[in-house]
Symmetry: C2
Subunit: 393 residues, 2 copies
């Protein structure tokens, strides 16, 4: 067998179609990069191709991919990209190659570009092993057994023009009908009183505060964060997410002193160093609070494994991690590493959001297809975007 | 007079020629983006063009400029980019336009792209006012009087193949001959014992520990940082810079507990939020320690003004700020706002490093040309790169 080798990397920019907005951004302009890493390894009569894309909320890093990270992989001595067995690619070594010449600090944008390629590398590695990624991860980094089903919650409740309480309730009922047990809505894009009416409208539907989470997308200053905390504390919500600026750890700490139900944050921290600072300084509580680092936006799984190590060394359980992003990569990681769950955006951020077509959510949990790799081939609208890229000459 | 308006933005990628390396990166691959913002405002019979470039250590953000930040400026309603008088552009409003649709957190790469454009906007604003930028800044944000000369130190002492102690001394002697009173060398790219011999070789030359700073470029873990601290403390150096990872504030705090002479860091923190966390958590000492945030890498002067406000609200003086980068933009900011000084890299990072050709360093201080704008027209090798860009059709 020849040494596994990357023979080409193709990329494209694809719009993420959505009319939604949160407290900070309008997603109508949002784009994603998709990459195909073509290898010389044959499985099932075809060359293995690994695919990756970037998670929502940050833009397609096309320039960064083509200026720095794709060339570094393609120009590397192939021997520096393979594992000790010599039979497969090694994402950790590829990570070192990609980050050559990069200074420490400043973890944004490039963390997305590296994340896209890291996702594609893991897809290729699992396909070369002819195993679903979550099973491979459980064996290498988990307890040996991947979870068959992962808890997912339905993130929605965005502000949209002409969307009233009835429409919000209808949206949430749709998620319940799909099999979700927990839903999430945005707050902070409307005055507190209006947001309380939105929360109460959803509680009317789901019954229990523990089945509704709220997300401020980092827009509150301390006073606003505390005002919302006081107003919503009696509902006992599933969590109160990203109240203030993601780097304002003092705000988070003040909030934790007065708000007893679970808090959540982390989707806008993109390195294990930033994650470590959150744990060190924000007063987040390991017995209840939730960490939402998105491996696809944060230098990929190679870095996420460092983040998990960091968390565990600081007394946290990986079960407190519920990644942002609602994508199959994080779902595999959640199943394989034993995380607490994964985000899900039914119907939005297409074709990137969501899981395999064959898998239905039942009692708030979803399964993973048992096909080699991350499972993109089992999601038709995503595969329709990826397949032509992998077939490009 | 017509409303001031941006009529075109041109950009190019230029290599930063250098054979040097520090503890983290090899600068031979380093690039910079240069931009020219063309306006419809006539001064001296010509249309005003503002120029900007990115500081060293981070790569040319060409993709980010062209994918997001240049289009946002060009597509903006011109009325959203002008100041209250209606006679000039307003960099703060342009900043809001550039950051539209950007989520909080993840401050890297895009901070460089925005910084390049912010620099060009300030150059244009000062040219429209027909004043040197440092004088304009002193009036708007300083004490009214710009410093005529700014303390600068010579940053060098990089590791290079076949560079021994004699060559290091010759390099440092060259800086003293140029008029600098303080020099800086790299540490951490060689074993401690060898670095101590390098330090002692330079001290032999400069005489006083207060005339030599050392820079580890963030490579040490805590044990290494403390070992160096113990070994170099007796020298009483000018400062000990970036011992550990720029985001490892605990490491910085531990270091400050045992190392009494000045510490310095901040060149790899790219937002006022990251700067605030440094101040909150690193134990940096406002009576002696130095903050090196580089406005060109950190979303430009609009954000740097927020950083200064943040520092002052936390009990720091702006006199403790000595920006990284060795460029004319930071020199204008240092002179105008009353910072403690500015970095300088004699002969390296050309054509971007360094100041006006007419200005000599005397007793460790350098002046600024009294021409409109940042002063690029007074630096021949830089102007040779910029002028064709501004003249592009």
């Amino acid at each position: 067998m020849p040494t596994p080798q990357i023979t080409a990397i193709h990329d494209a920019v694809v719009p993420i179609k959505s009319s939604i907005r949160n407290a900070f951004i309008d997603f109508r302009q949002m784009t994603a990069s998709v990459v195909a890493i073509v290898t010389n390894v044959e499985r099932g009569g075809r060359l293995v191709v690994g695919y990756g894309f970037n998670s929502n909320g940050r833009y397609a890093p096309a320039g960064l991919l083509n200026e720095r990270f794709i060339p570094r992989l393609l120009e590397a001595d192939p021997g520096t990209l393979i594992d000790a067995s010599g039979d497969n690619l090694d994402p950790a070594r590829a990570w070192d190659v990609m980050m050559t010449g990069e200074k420490p600090g400043g973890h944004g944008e490039r963390s997305v570009a590296v994340g896209v390629l890291d996702m594609a590398l893991w897809d290729a590695v699992a396909k070369i092993e002819e195993r679903p990624l979550h099973e491979l991860l459980a064996e290498r980094y988990g307890n040996g057994n991947a979870a068959e089903r992962v808890w997912v919650y339905a993130a929605g409740g965005y502000y949209e023009p002409d969307k009233g309480l009835a429409e919000l309730q209808a949206e949430m009922q749709g998620y319940l009908d799909l099999g979700y047990d927990t839903v999430k809505i945005k707050i902070g894009g409307a005055p507190l009183e209006e947001d309380l009416r939105r929360i109460e409208a959803v509680l009317e539907l789901v019954g229990d505060g523990g089945r509704l989470a709220v997300d401020a997308n980092g827009r509150f200053n301390l006073d606003e964060a505390l005002a919302y905390a006081e107003a919503i504390a009696p509902y006992g919500l599933h969590w109160y997410e990203e109240a203030g600026d993601p780097l304002d750890f003092d705000l988070q700490a003040e909030l934790g002193k007065v708000y007893r139900p679970p808090l959540a944050t982390g989707e806008n921290l993109f390195s294990h160093q930033d994650a470590r600072n959150l744990i060190r300084y924000s007063g987040m509580r390991p017995d209840r609070d939730i960490l939402q680092f998105d491996p696809a936006l944060s230098y990929g799984l190679v870095e996420y494994l460092r983040t998990i190590d960091t968390l565990e060394s600081l007394g946290w359980s990986r079960a407190q991690c519920v990644p942002h992003g609602g994508h199959q990569f994080a779902l595999n990681i959640a199943a394989g590493l034993g995380l607490g769950g994964n985000e899900s955006y039914p119907d939005v951020f297409q074709p990137f959001g969501g899981f395999a077509d064959s898998e239905r959510v039942v009692d708030g949990r979803v399964g993973l297809p048992r096909i080699p790799g991350i499972g993109f081939e089992a999601k038709a609208n995503l595969w329709a975007v990826m397949a032509p890229l992998g077939a490009r000459a």
